[in-house]
Amino acid sequence: MGIFVDRETRAIVQGITGTQGRFHTRLMLDYGTKIVAGVTPGRGGMEVHGVPVYDTIEEALGKHEAEASIIFVPAPFALDAALEALENGLKTIVIITEGIPIRDSMEIVARAKQRGATIIGPNTPGVITVGECKLGIMPAQVFKEGSVGVASRSGTLTYEIAAAISRGGFGVSTCVGIGGDPITGLNFVEVLERFRDDPSTEAVILIGEIGGDLEERAARYILEQGYLKPVAAFIAGRSAVAGKRMGHAGAIIQGRAGTAESKIQALREAGVEVAERPGEIAKIVGELLGRD
C-alpha cells in the first residue's frame, strides 16, 4: 500500500512530448505505473510510447479516468499546468519542474489546499511506492521493497541513501521527495502523518538540508505527538556558508536561521538519530527495526 500512490493510481503526464516527459514516461511505464494519457497543447492525437496525447486535461479525462498527474512542463508554464490539473479534479500532482517562481508556487499550494489536493514538489524527484508505482524520475534500481519510509528535500542524495538501505539488506516502502524549493506542497510533518498511518512503514528516514525550518518543525511534531515509529535523519549542509544558495533555491541560511546545526540539534532533542554520514544510514535502520 502506498501513501500517495499505489498500484491502482492512474496518472496523466503533462508535458509528455518534451525530452524529459518522453524519457520518463518510458521508465514509469517500465516500472508498471499506469500512465493513462499525456497532455501537450497542440500535440493532441499523437502517441508517446503507446500513450495517447491530448491538448487539454479536460479532453484526456473525457476518454480516461485518472486521479494523479506528473508535470514536466518548463517553469514559465508550470503554474498554468498545475491549475489545470487542480481545476479538473486531480488529487495528487507531482511537479518535477525546477525554477518555478515563488509567487507561482504559493498560488499552486494555496489552490491545492482549497481543493483538498496534494502537491508533491516543485523541484522534486517525485514519489515511489516500491514495487507498485513510480510517479517520478528516480532511478528504480536503487530501491528495494521494504518497510522504511523516506522523505527528502533532495534527489541524488536520496538515491545515495536508498542505495545504502538496499546494500544493508533493508528496503523502502514509499520514498517521497518534498522538493528543493523554498515553497513546496508538502512538509516533513505532513509526510510523517501519512507514514504514521501506513501499515507498510515501520521506520522513517528524513533527509533534510539547510534553509527554512521544516526539520525543526518535524522535530517538534515528533516530540509533541510522541511519534510511535522510529525516525532517523541525515542533514546536508553543515559546511554551507550563510547567505548563499547551495544549489537548491530553498537551501539557504538566512541570517542565523536555517543552519544544519539548528536542525540536527532539534532532531536529536526529539530523540531522532541523526547520521553523520550517508553510509551510516543502513546501520541505523537496522537498529531502528531491531535487527542487526
Binding site: D104, S154, T156, P182, R217, S239, R245, H248
Partner: protein, 381 residues
C-alpha cells in the same frame, strides 16, 4: 537578485510610494551638481547591493555642494563588503520625527507572503525581533486573497496611527504589497520608513530583491542576472552561472563537483568530517552532459587555490559514461592540472569506469572513501 537602492526607488516611485528627492552620480563633480540642484544638506549614499551599508561607512552627509563632492570622491571607487562603489545616490536630507520599518517577505513555513511592520525602524529587523519582539507586527497574507485595504489599515493601526496618517500609511503598505506581487519580490523593505515632523511618510531607504526564477517576466532586469552589479555573487560564481552551473565559492583548497544539490552538500560535509576544507560547491545538476562536466572541471582547474578535485557522481538520469567523457575531454584539452579523485556509481557505471581507467583515473565506490582520499592528497600537495 538585489536591486541597487536607486533602482528600487525608481520602482517604488512607479507605485506611488514617496521617496526622497535625489539623483545618481558616478563622479564627484556630478554629485556636486546634484547637491546644488537639490539644495543642501544632502545624504550621499554608496550604491552597493549589500546590507549593513550605513555601519560600513557607506552613507555620508554634506552641508555644502563642495562637501558633497568631497564625500562622493571618498565613496566612489572604494569597497564596501568587498563590492566596488561605482555610483552614489545624492538625496535631500530628510527631517525625522520617527523611524519605522515595513517589509514584505516570503514566509516559507506558511507558504505565503508575510507583511512585517515595526515602530522600531533604522536598525536591522532581525535585531528588533531578537530584543523587542513585541514591537513587531507580522501579518501572513493569503495568496488567494492578497493584502486588502482593511488588512493594511489594521497593520498601520497596530503601529499607533489614526486619522489622516492612518490612511496614508496603510495606503503606502498596500502599494508596497502590490509592488511585491507584480515585481515577484522575494523581499522588499523600507528601512527606515521615515515619519517627518509634518506627518508625511517617506521611504528613506528601499530594498527590492527579485526572485531570480521570475526574471523571465521582468525583461528590464533580466540581463542583470549575470552582471557583476548584482553584488551577491563573486566573479567566479558569475562565470559558473554563465556556464549553467550552480557554484558557490568557499575558502578551502579541495575542489568539489557533484551532481545534485543535496549530494554535493553532503560531499562537502564529508570533506569537513575528514578535516579538509572545500574550495567550492559545484552542482552539475540533473542529466549532466559531457560538455557540462568538462566546463565544470576546467573552471576548477583555473582556480589557483584548488589542490585536488573531488568528483562525486551518482548516476540516475545522469549517465556515468557521459561524465567520464567530459573528464577525458579536459585531459585531452588541457591535461590534468591537479590530481583528481572520482567516485562514480549508478547508470552506465561500468562504461564510465572503463573510460576513466584507460585515462589512468581510478574510480572509487564510496563517497566517504573518496573524501578521505581527497583530503590526504590536499595535505600532500
Amino acid at each position: 537578485m538585489n536591486l541597487l537602492e536607486f533602482e528600487a526607488k525608481e520602482v517604488f516611485s512607479r507605485y506611488g510610494i514617496p521617496v526622497p528627492r535625489g539623483e545618481v552620480a558616478s563622479t564627484p563633480s556630478q554629485a556636486e551638481e546634484v547637491a546644488e540642484r537639490l539644495g543642501v544638506p544632502v545624504a550621499v549614499k554608496a550604491q552597493v547591493a549589500a546590507g549593513g551599508r550605513g555601519k560600513a561607512g557607506g552613507i555620508l552627509f554634506a552641508e555644502t555642494p563642495q562637501e558633497a563632492r568631497d564625500v562622493a570622491g571618498r565613496l566612489l571607487g572604494s569597497e564596501i563588503h568587498g563590492l566596488r562603489v561605482r555610483k552614489v545616490l545624492v538625496e535631500e536630507r530628510l527631517r525625522i520625527k520617527r523611524e519605522l520599518y515595513f517589509g514584505i517577505t516570503v514566509d516559507r513555513s506558511s507558504r505565503c507572503y508575510v507583511a512585517i511592520a515595526s515602530s522600531e525602524g533604522g536598525v536591522e529587523i532581525e535585531e528588533v525581533a531578537a530584543t523587542a519582539p513585541e514591537r513587531i507586527v507580522r501579518f501572513p497574507i493569503d495568496p488567494l486573497y492578497g493584502l486588502k485595504s482593511y488588512h493594511a489599515l489594521r497593520i498601520a493601526k497596530a503601529l499607533g496611527y489614526s486619522g489622516r496618517q492612518l490612511r496614508s500609511l496603510s495606503s503606502l503598505f498596500h502599494r508596497l504589497y502590490t509592488l511585491a506581487v507584480e515585481q515577484d519580490a522575494e523581499l522588499t523593505e523600507i528601512n527606515p520608513l521615515v515619519e517627518t515632523p509634518e506627518g508625511e511618510f517617506i521611504a528613506a531607504d528601499a530594498r527590492l530583491n527579485i526572485d531570480d526564477n521570475a526574471l523571465f517576466r521582468h525583461p528590464e532586469f533580466k540581463e542583470r542576472l549575470f552582471s557583476e552589479e548584482r553584488g551577491d555573487l563573486t566573479p567566479e560564481e558569475l562565470e559558473a552561472r554563465r556556464r549553467g552551473l550552480a557554484y558557490v565559492k568557499l575558502d578551502g583548497e579541495i575542489g568539489v563537483i557533484g551532481n545534485g544539490a543535496g549530494l554535493t552538500m553532503a560531499t562537502l560535509d564529508m570533506i569537513r568530517l575528514q578535516g579538509g576544507r572545500a574550495a567550492d560547491f559545484l552542482d552539475l545538476g540533473g542529466g549532466a552532459s559531457s560538455e557540462r562536466m568538462s566546463s565544470a572541471l576546467s573552471l576548477l582547474f583555473s582556480d589557483p587555490r584548488v589542490r585536488v578535485v573531488l568528483i562525486n557522481i551518482l548516476g540516475g538520469i545522469t549517465r556515468c559514461d557521459e561524465v567520464a567523457r567530459g573528464i577525458l575531454e579536459v585531459k585531452e584539452k588541457m591535461g590534468f592540472r591537479r590530481p583528481i579523485v572520482v567516485r562514480m556509481i549508478g547508470t552506465n557505471e561500468e562504461e564510465g569506469r572503463r573510460i576513466l581507467r584507460e585515462a589512468g583515473v581510478e574510480v572509487l565506490e564510496s563517497m566517504e572513501e573518496a573524501a578521505e582520499r581527497a583530503v590526504e592528497i590536499a595535505r600532500r600537495e
